[in-house]
């Protein structure tokens, strides 16, 4: 605060400049403009105000943005490289049979492929079932050693208040 006060005291409204700066202040400073610049500035502003892009951040920080001949071919080349490297190889991979290890792993994690495999396996199972002899299944009974006796079953049914006559139905 004291320093600022000291400067303020030295800088009245009409402070005196060093002689060199005071002399340079008088007269022209050397800056000039193209001929007729100010005569046409108004009309150029009026003509340009509808479509003015302006000195946007992009156009100042990256001057080549305003020169499409520079960046359009570059952008096209980048897009082409991306297509060649990432898009086309994926399509080609779908046609190649899964012969290598990485393809098999990839396809194993591919849900649609897994579904196809399951479907084809279930078709195989269906065919096998049709062909096998089912007679042993139809006649199969439970032959466990701990099978309950008729009396035990009747006792159980009484406990559950179910008519034992139900046994006669089966």
């Amino acid at each position: 605060m004291k320093i600022n006060q000291s400067i303020q005291n030295q800088c009245p409204e009409n402070e005196s400049l060093p002689p060199m700066l005071s002399k340079l202040r008088q007269g022209a400073d050397g800056i000039n403009t193209p001929d007729g610049y100010f005569d046409s500035l108004g009309s150029r502003i009026v003509d340009g105000k509808a479509n003015r892009k302006g000195a946007s951040f992009l156009s100042v920080a990256f001057p080549s943005v305003s020169k499409p001949l520079l960046w359009v071919p570059t952008l096209a080349a980048v897009v082409a490289v991306v297509l060649l490297v990432f898009v086309l190889p994926e399509k080609k991979a779908a046609e190649i049979p899964a012969v290598d290890e990485w393809t098999e792993i990839r396809m194993a994690f591919d849900a649609s492929y897994a579904e196809e495999v399951l479907l084809s396996e279930s078709h195989t199972v269906d065919r096998e079932i049709e062909n096998i002899d089912l007679s042993y299944i139809q006649s199969a009974t439970y032959t466990g050693k701990n099978e309950p006796t008729r009396d035990e079953i009747s006792e159980y049914l009484k406990d559950q208040e179910i008519e034992p006559d139900i046994l006669n139905e089966h």
């Binding site: 400073d29 302006g54 100042v60």
Partner: protein, 182 residues
């Protein structure tokens, strides 16, 4: 070309039939002041032309809503300051991308400026001003070249008169040292 006061220009501008006429008058009245103010900051003529056009387009778009709580002149200058400082900021970013210092870039712009025919001492003065921090440059140019009062500069920048005096004083010292050293 008839001379209108700022208030008359604003009234004329708000009349839909005379909007373009009023705007042309406004441009005529302030174009040189605004141009040279901007040119001293951005150095290059083409850059200054871009910035000046942006300033006047902004004025055209916003003059309808100008609240008149400050003078028109103050408002115009404020827009000019903001646009110039934004331009410098964007240029500095370009420097960082190209790994050059902002100072070197400005020096190069000074040397390549084809619309300049100052003496050697004037060139040294210009170089010394360009080396100042952007806001200090603005304060110095407004006071030294445009002869604005501290009160007017304070209105434009929203900075206290005391701070402006200090800033100008320091700028003068730096410039004097730089010009006499070379």
């Amino acid at each position: 070309m008839p001379e209108f006061t700022d208030n008359e220009l604003i009234e004329l501008f708000r009349n839909a039939d005379k909007k373009h006429y009023a705007f042309n008058l406004l441009v005529r009245k302030y174009q040189e002041k605004i141009y040279f103010f901007v040119r001293r900051i951005v150095i290059d003529h083409d850059d200054a032309d871009d910035v000046v056009q942006n300033i006047f387009i902004k004025i055209y778009k916003n003059l309808d809503t100008f609240r008149e709580d400050s003078k028109l002149f103050t408002w115009l200058y404020r827009i000019a300051v903001n646009e110039s400082l934004s331009f410098l900021k964007n240029k500095r970013f370009q420097c960082y991308l190209s790994l050059t210092s902002p100072e070197a870039m400005m020096m190069k712009a000074l040397q390549e400026d084809t619309h300049y025919d100052g003496t050697e001492i004037q060139k040294r003065l210009r170089e010394a001003i360009v080396k100042l921090p952007p806001k200090q440059q603005v304060v110095f140019n407004m006071r030294y070249y445009d002869d604005l009062s501290y009160a007017e500069i304070s209105d434009i920048l929203g900075t206290s008169v005391g701070a402006l005096k200090a800033s100008y004083h320091i700028a003068v010292k730096k410039i004097e040292a730089s010009v006499t050293a070379n």
